[in-house]
Symmetry: none
Subunit: 226 residues, 4 copies
Amino acid sequence: MPRTTKKKTDPAERVAVDTDANAEGAGGQGLTRAERRAEAERRLLAAAVTLVADRGTEGTTLADVGEAAGYSRGLPGHYFGTKSDLIAAVASHISDGFANRLAQTSTRAPGLESLLHSVGSYLDGISQREGARALLIALAEALTEPLLNETMKPVTVRSIGRLRTMIEQGKARGEIRADVDAEAQAALILGTLRATVAQWWTDQDRIDLATLRDTYVASLQRSLAA
Amino acid sequence: MPRTTKKKTDPAERVAVDTDANAEGAGGQGLTRAERRAEAERRLLAAAVTLVADRGTEGTTLADVGEAAGYSRGLPGHYFGTKSDLIAAVASHISDGFANRLAQTSTRAPGLESLLHSVGSYLDGISQREGARALLIALAEALTEPLLNETMKPVTVRSIGRLRTMIEQGKARGEIRADVDAEAQAALILGTLRATVAQWWTDQDRIDLATLRDTYVASLQRSLAA
Amino acid sequence: MPRTTKKKTDPAERVAVDTDANAEGAGGQGLTRAERRAEAERRLLAAAVTLVADRGTEGTTLADVGEAAGYSRGLPGHYFGTKSDLIAAVASHISDGFANRLAQTSTRAPGLESLLHSVGSYLDGISQREGARALLIALAEALTEPLLNETMKPVTVRSIGRLRTMIEQGKARGEIRADVDAEAQAALILGTLRATVAQWWTDQDRIDLATLRDTYVASLQRSLAA
Amino acid sequence: MPRTTKKKTDPAERVAVDTDANAEGAGGQGLTRAERRAEAERRLLAAAVTLVADRGTEGTTLADVGEAAGYSRGLPGHYFGTKSDLIAAVASHISDGFANRLAQTSTRAPGLESLLHSVGSYLDGISQREGARALLIALAEALTEPLLNETMKPVTVRSIGRLRTMIEQGKARGEIRADVDAEAQAALILGTLRATVAQWWTDQDRIDLATLRDTYVASLQRSLAA
DNA sequence: CATGAATGAGTATTCATTCAT
DNA sequence: TATGAATGAATACTCATTCAT
């Protein structure tokens, strides 16, 4: 009777979900015990992401997560132990799904083109991606919660690494100037993307994301191109 | 009857006071009641700013603020009524006081030079400025606390405005390309600065602020210069 | 309206109460703040003693203590911080009042007579002394709760010390044989007293405390007398 | 359907089994269902005894017992139904198994010699006997848990009976004074033994068990001998 | 003006217990 | 037989908030 079906198909969520547990296959009825556990965990995590994206980690209670996922108030504690662990799981979950976004521009030629496309598309669909917001919230809260900080650090490191690789490929192909510091540029780019999105969330009336995107891509082109 | 809304005074005069906030100068003895009240309020606010900069708003309790200011645990409640009101006062205080370092680089020639200098110096002394951290924390928390958001919005607007003015001056002087979107560039620059500092706070071992500063200034030069 | 008057005058409790806070003097109405605090603390402690005596420390909740004392459910936490601290306070409280019992046989001649009188009177009024039961419960639980154990150790040390002093006085006066190991005898006597009372509490139908008392006093006389 | 009440077998045969409780001997392979059930129950009970001896009943969870026995977290609940039932089984087990070391000193001549030897040897090897600790813990907790109390009462009664028999034999043989109250003395002795051991467990640094043993045996000799 | 006593709501966390596989 | 998923109640603890002195 509980077990709300809640068939939401948010893209950002999908990404991570597919990454992780790809069981289930068909309906959802005759599930083995392991499957049920996996499904419950997935649903709890998804609910937690939604709530954290909405109210931040401190505004999210374990009980909320359980209920939002259609389970009991106590289940999140049962699965994740402590709230810290749940938040850590949420962060990992998000970062898995999210980090993929930067990597998934595989259709473009590697190098500058790929980089600019990634940057542009990052800013493009941001409003639809719930995971993106949750990630940003978590990053913001990491400033005051050392525990969360440790969890989030690798996310940033990985993302910077991806961008750096693109820059280096660009340099190797002669599209990007040889004197560009790939690591530093990657950090600056990631920061700009995040801060831009945060600004937009803070004041959507005043910030026109499309203009910022175009302006930024053009600026990057000019500052990086060989 | 309590629940003061604090008719904030002119930012300009505040700046000096806010630099460290426990100035006081005068003895503290023969003060009129109003003066004592004002002083207590100032000290409480300064303590609150420090605590919020350190632990965030949720990690800061009213009692902590009272004790940190050298008063009783109950005084913040007595003066500010609710915690929300205190946080609002803190946010106003921050936004007033640090009406932004960017404005104070008046010694340089207006235009591109001033802009690049501002950018560089913003990233330079950041570790010494407690107020900068408080501001960033407040901005980060504004993502999940609408109340804070409303208070912090104008800060961003103002800062973007200052940067935009510099860019426009640069364009007028022919130093900056005419086709640059001043508003968008200003927003991007502010975001980059904030995100870079946040990244450094999050992982000081990995982030070399000096390199980022040089890299960014060079990039800006290249992308903006006529 | 709350603030049940609860004017119980249990002797064991009195002892400690007088030891500790002797303010209050008259009625109980026009109390200064410090007095109110002291009274609340006294009442909470008394209630805690009663509850612990009845249900043990694990069976006693902070909320129970608050309500039993006629205050709110949260007050014990407010005053004592953690439950461990409350239990420690209870243990100290009890031991203060209780240790006195052994010392208060001052009307007798010091030495063997005093010792035998102490032993006898210890077993005499035991059923009326609520504090005695609470103390024993705490000692019993100390076996499995290291924290409690640390708190209770000094109680035992002190009590053994008192008995040892009596024995030594008896030896000095030539009433007790010179080859008696005062420390060891004191430990044995204290243990016997405690265990006897515990046995009686466990099975009052089968244990006749008066007989045990007489038998023990006679045995002690025979084994110690010079 | 679960909620086994465990028709305990004859204590005599149990004694050997209980000494350490993880005997098993047989492989564990080709067992009938009933045998497996019996073995699981035995192992769970043994684990429960160990845990209770260590942490007390409230510090022991059903899940702990299952894991400690090498089974699942849920099995104890499956077999014993409620925790109370498990604790009752543990108490029965203890009281059956350790139907008291005092009975096993049959090599000595009956009477005073046997009594003194029993007393001495009780205090001697106490640190090695896990069962002794479990018994004492159970007795201590019986003070606050009526259920446990009912189960443990007979243990005390039986032990007192054994000691009384020895005393009476001593009186019959003329070794012990005729005016000694055998029942009362037996109760005092048992209490002294238990309390002494408890004291030692509580503060091993301060209590020298060997000295207490010698002192007590000497005292008993003096107070009982004809 | 300032303190601190007292309240009560909210939250993480632990467990016994039930139930489906 | 045995496992483990899921529930829900209980509890310590933290704090904002109110009120009397």
